[in-house]
């Protein structure tokens, strides 16, 4: 009897169960190892300093739930026939392809919904605020999608460009008193410059190595912002960043003599919602510009070269594509949109400090791109709504909020390892009669 045959013959309940229990036990052991320090011991303030509090019951709950969860998961995996799994994969792919196809209609519908959102009867300050936050992450996701999704360059330090954009905006606006609309392109330009600066040293790196260097770059920017006190005011941050105005009309309650503000000009009663809604529409427009730009550039030679570079760099070189320039443009353009989002962030908050630009931000943006399905524009929207909007919804769960976030990520990776919408749409389709439909093509 061959090894395989014997394994098949022995593949009944008995032997399987032992293996499954072993697997679950191992997972529980890992949970125990992590749990003792992370969950079990907690620092609390006691009179006279810090004290420790022990929560062993929580550790037990965590270990048991990991054991049971892993066991059930493994059991499902073993008992389900591979045919069924393949079937599900096919079904999921079909759903993905359908969503992509529908996205052509759904895109405009979503835009209309987004425009109408602040006017809905149920919407209030809180909802518009969250929607603004979600749109910010959608824009960041779309920006990073150019680097990671299209060009296939794993960038773990994207937040650096976000930070450069925010600080450029803040410093220029505070010191030179330029308007938002002048600072915005400048901030984008600065961020793009930093994108090229990062791009040069990492041109020869790929995969893991690239990820590590970009991670380091993100940290360098943050540490510089933190320590260059004379320039950035370090951990104190920059406050009093000018708020954007509506074509010169400020959103302020009190108006100086001889000047007008938004509500006096339009003869409205003053409402703090005006500014919130204006910020919402501002980020909506910025995000849509990002999307429009990405969709157009995908069909241009440089966009196609990004995608080709992601698939096979050697083939690209043998076709006459300059990998250096191609990578640098991807870094620069991705960074530019990060910079735009950064300046929006600065003007929305009115205050920025290095704390807002930690690695966690990079990780969240990357998670949005990866979970959405690399390179998929609508996937980024879905992932951002789920991750950012979702965690806001779970805010009532307090400390379990991040648990829900992590759980959602694990589930998506189990069910859709290549992201929610991993389907890639061709950049051009056949028109009815023509041979090549030119620039007409699919959006994805």
């Amino acid at each position: 009897m061959t090894v395989e045959a014997s394994r098949q013959a022995g593949g009944t309940e008995g032997t399987d169960l032992v293996a499954l229990l072993k697997e679950a036990g191992l997972a529980a052991l890992v949970a125990l190892g992590l749990g003792i320090s992370i969950i079990g011991i907690r620092t609390v303030t006691i009179p006279g300093g810090l004290g420790l509090e022990y929560r062993w019951d929580w550790v037990v709950i965590a270990v048991v739930s990991v054991f049971v969860g892993r066991f059930v998961l493994a059991l499902r995996r073993e008992t389900r026939s591979p045919a069924k799994r393949a079937e599900r994969e096919v079904v999921m792919n079909r759903i993905g392809a359908t969503v992509q196809r529908v996205s052509k209609i759904a895109g405009p519908v979503l835009v209309v919904i987004a425009i109408a959102l602040p006017w809905m009867p149920f919407s209030n300050r809180y909802i518009v605020d969250i929607a603004t936050l979600v749109l910010m992450y959608i824009m960041l996701g779309w920006g990073l999608n150019i680097v990671v999704g299209l060009a296939g360059l794993l960038d773990l330090g994207y937040v650096a460009f976000y930070a450069v954009g925010a600080y450029s905006y803040a410093l220029i606006a505070v010191h030179f008193d330029l308007s938002f609309w002048l600072c915005l392109p400048l901030a984008g330009l600065f961020a793009a410059t930093f994108g090229v600066l990062l791009g040069f040293p990492v041109l020869r790196l790929r995969g893991d190595y690239l990820a590590i260097v970009t991670l380091g770059f993100g940290e360098i920017i943050r540490v510089v912002l933190l320590n260059w006190y004379e320039f950035t005011r370090g951990p104190d941050g920059i406050s009093g960043i000018p708020r954007p105005s509506f074509f010169g009309l400020p959103f302020s309650r009190r108006v100086q003599e001889g000047e007008q503000s938004f509500h006096t000009f339009f003869g409205l009663d003053y409402s703090s919602m005006h500014r919130i809604m204006f910020l919402y529409y501002l980020i909506l427009v910025l995000a849509l510009i990002t999307n429009f730009f990405t969709m157009r550039i995908r069909k241009l030679p440089v966009g196609r070269a990004w995608e080709a570079l992601r698939e096979d760099e050697i083939a690209c070189r043998s076709l006459g594509i300059n990998p250096t320039n191609t990578k640098l443009t991807a870094f620069a353009i991705g960074a530019m949109f990060g910079g735009f989002a950064g300046s929006f962030f600065a003007t929305r908050q009115g205050f920025i400090s290095p704390e807002s630009f930690t690695f966690v931000e990079s990780a969240v943006i990357l998670a949005i791109v990866v979970l959405g399905g690399m390179g998929s524009q609508i996937g980024v929207v879905i992932a951002a709504v789920l991750l950012i909007g979702g965690t806001e919804l779970f805010r009532e769960l307090e400390q379990f909020r991040m648990l829900a976030f992590g759980g959602a990520m694990v589930l998506i990776m189990v069910w859709r390892p290549r992201g929610l919408l991993a389907h890639r749409d061709p950049t051009l389709r056949l028109s009815a009669g023509g041979q090549n439909a030119g620039a007409k093509g699919g959006a994805s």
Partner: protein
């Protein structure tokens, strides 16, 4: 006129000397083949023409211009196209997109004509143009790799083992197309092959490479008739 001339070329992968002084030339309008066993250095020679690895000693000239130290993407612009080892088509891109990538260095106004040309050469690609590269059969992928190389309007076409892993019938088909573009359009072709029989039948001239050196050269039929070539590359192994 000498189109490609390789003179005294030594190439290294790290410390390993893959090419130990290769002299080889390709005249305009010829089909030249380089045959040899696995690991003889055939693919390395093609890669060296494209500057990766760069020849440590010796020179590579294209139409008289020294291209030894040029970068691959600049060499393509001179009019050399390559269908690299392992085809290297873009699997997630459609056939049409692959062909568009091939036309990167070609002027835009020729695109439609060039497309017609490769679709005439390989009609199956026309039927498959909206299909993803990765879903094509091996033979179709090879056709796509050649078609993609042709889209750059080259004057010299370098092919690395187009017959690799393909059914004999498909190999015949592909080689017939190569013969066609050589005879009808005067395309100069330099072909690296393990399939010595087909390659030597097709080629005007051939070279035999052993351990990074050229050991034999001559007309295609002439080499085919040599007992040492027959013994090493045609009988037994094939």
């Amino acid at each position: 006129m000498t189109m490609l001339s390789i003179a005294g070329v030594h190439s290294f992968y790290g410390n390993i000397e893959a090419l130990r002084g290769v002299d080889l030339d390709v005249q305009q309008g010829e089909i030249v083949t380089l045959i040899g066993a696995n690991g003889a250095g055939k693919s390395t020679l093609l890669m060296t023409v494209f500057g990766n690895p760069r020849a440590a000693v010796g020179s590579v000239r294209f139409e008289g211009q020294n291209i030894t130290t040029m970068l691959a993407h600049d060499i393509v612009r001179l009019g050399i196209a390559q269908s690299p080892e392992g085809r290297r088509i873009f699997p997630r891109m459609t056939v049409m997109e692959n062909l568009q990538m091939g036309a990167t260095v070609a002027p835009l106004e020729h695109f439609d004509d060039d497309l017609d040309r490769v679709f005439t050469l390989f009609p199956i690609l026309k039927a498959r143009q909206q299909q993803r590269g990765g879903t094509l059969s091996g033979g179709e992928q090879q056709m796509l790799a050649i078609a993609r190389a042709l889209m750059s309007r080259p004057r010299l076409l370098l092919l690395d083992e187009p017959s690799l892993g393909l059914a004999p019938l498909i190999v015949k088909q592909i080689f017939a197309v190569l013969k066609d573009i050589n005879k009808q359009e005067g395309m100069t072709i330099f072909l690296v092959e393990q399939n010595a029989f087909h390659a030597l039948k097709l080629a005007d001239r051939g070279y035999v490479m052993v351990n990074g050196r050229i050991t034999l050269s001559g007309g295609g039929e002439e080499l085919l008739a040599m007992p040492e070539v027959r013994a090493a590359y045609l009988e037994g192994g094939h």
